[in-house]
Assembly symmetry: C2
Homo-oligomer: 303 residues x 2
């Protein structure tokens, strides 16, 4: 299954150096999930050839503008493009009120439904699931209520070993049950154990999206061992006082979280507009956690 | 005096082909005026090196999103950049409510004041003036209340003729009054008429910003003879039924308004996302009104 994230906006609150406010597009086997929606997200989607036809879920971490000012434009363009199927918006209390304030004066009647799913969690919770994925809220610490999101693939089917299927002449109509873990009873009554015919499924992949937040070890248990962690790193270590003041993280703090959580890969972003050159941010992270990458707009990262 | 407009967004409702929703930046001798503020305006300002330090007035034509979804981002970035002086927002009823809905949940206390100037006109009115300019509302016809804006330079001072000042040995402290039209009384009591010492001032320049609107001859008297008219031309002539349905204009209609108003130059924009190639739009206008230009993002037009 295809599972990747494309960065649409990598910067912090003030756009700078042609870097845009936060937005990530997650593609799971063709289904789209938008994580935050800063100003210009719909334009970035076009620029980076993101198909939005199967984008049905938008997740908003918090109501600072650099994380959702692009949402109204996206909603409006869906409408002008004759969208008919439901758009689900998951996020903090207030989004619906803000959306409605806009439409009141635009006299817009949407041609498709929006369902708002309010997140006011003070502990992690399953906020969405489908056949393939679960999404949990991650409780972050910022100046206003903020939740990250943990996308986790459901454990897949067991992998059939074709040579064993041939050896035991197992009929095709039994394969599906065997993939789900069943043993096979032969015509003489003898039983072939499932593990004789199958291998373990691929490990479930996961993506944790943690922005905006101060350094917060209370998320470690939840994100332990995720495949890819996106963690904001607004400031260089030298500006740690500014990070503390504004409840953001430094590069060193993001990398420490990655290291303690033993994640597969760390991606950092939400760069302060004061930094044009991002190489020092990457270097500071890699001192603590080597497998770090910078969030670069337009780039896709396999989960 | 420097008087020019820079196009920041040239497209209609749906961004397309890297063309952005409507925004024009007017520079009058260093003072900035923003006309509409579609999504991405602040990013376009950076891209096109627009100085925003002397931008104190934003004029919003109407509350369709493609004309104001960039306003919250601009307001927020001003705040993060420590703006202290007042920002004036001129536009329809509802803007203040929408802005406040955002700040309620962001828990933002702005460090600078915003003054909202509500425009609910059903006839043209002086909505702003300073020492150099007047701004009038233009009543447009669209699906919701919409006003264009007419910027007109105040007639300047009379131009001193230096050789006459020298000839009559006129003291420097009298020059200012003479520029304002006064005669000069010599020590022997004889009077030198103002027109002996001065030439007429340069003609007052003007910029009319008309978007969004259906073809509407009732604006002709007001915009008669303006230096530059921006008039929306969302559709080619072949799509005139669609223009009528949505209360927009065709190229031919925009050019007819320009021709009947005998303006100096027509700039068209607010292109429908269905058109990648804009050359046919320009050609259709020029058949009716030769001195037409396309609004091109990043390009500045001298008024």
């Amino acid at each position: 299954m295809h599972f990747e994230v494309t960065i649409l906006g990598s910067n912090g609150a003030i756009p700078a150096y042609d870097r845009h406010p936060t937005s990530h597009f997650l593609n799971y086997n063709g289904d789209g999930f938008l994580l935050d929606c800063g100003e210009g997200t719909q334009i970035q989607m076009s620029r980076h050839n993101i198909k939005r036809g199967r984008l049905d879920h938008v997740f908003i971490t918090h109501l600072h503008g650099d994380h959702f000012f692009g949402m109204m434009g996206l909603i409006t363009s869906f409408n002008l493009n004759y969208r008919e199927h439901t758009l689900h918006i998951h996020g903090p209390l207030g989004i619906e009120e803000i959306v409605n304030a806009h439409f009141k004066y635009a006299q817009t009647q949407l041609k498709y439904p929006i369902e708002f799913h309010v997140i006011t969690d003070d502990r992690p919770r399953l906020v969405f699931e489908n056949n393939a994925l679960t999404v949990e809220s991650i409780i972050l610490k910022h100046r206003i209520p903020t939740t990250g999101f943990l996308f986790r693939e459901k454990t897949g089917m067991r992998k059939i070993l074709p040579e064993k299927i041939a050896l035991h002449q197992i009929p095709v109509q039994d394969i599906s049950r065997i993939k789900q873990g069943a043993d096979y009873t032969q015509s003489d009554g003898s039983v072939i154990a499932n593990k004789e015919m199958t291998a373990d499924p691929a490990p479930a992949r996961s993506y944790a999206f943690c922005t905006d937040t101060v350094y917060n070890e209370s998320i470690l248990d939840q994100i332990q061992g995720v495949s890819v962690l996106y963690h904001e790193a607004t400031f260089l270590n030298m500006h740690k006082d500014r990070a503390a003041e504004t409840l953001h993280s430094t590069t060193g703090e993001a990398a420490t979280i990655a290291s303690k959580a033993q994640v597969g890969k760390l991606i950092i972003g939400h760069y302060s507009a004061r930094y044009e050159d991002l190489a020092p941010m990457l270097a500071e992270c890699q001192e603590v956690f080597l497998n770090t990458e910078l969030a670069i707009e337009g780039k896709s990262y396999t989960i």
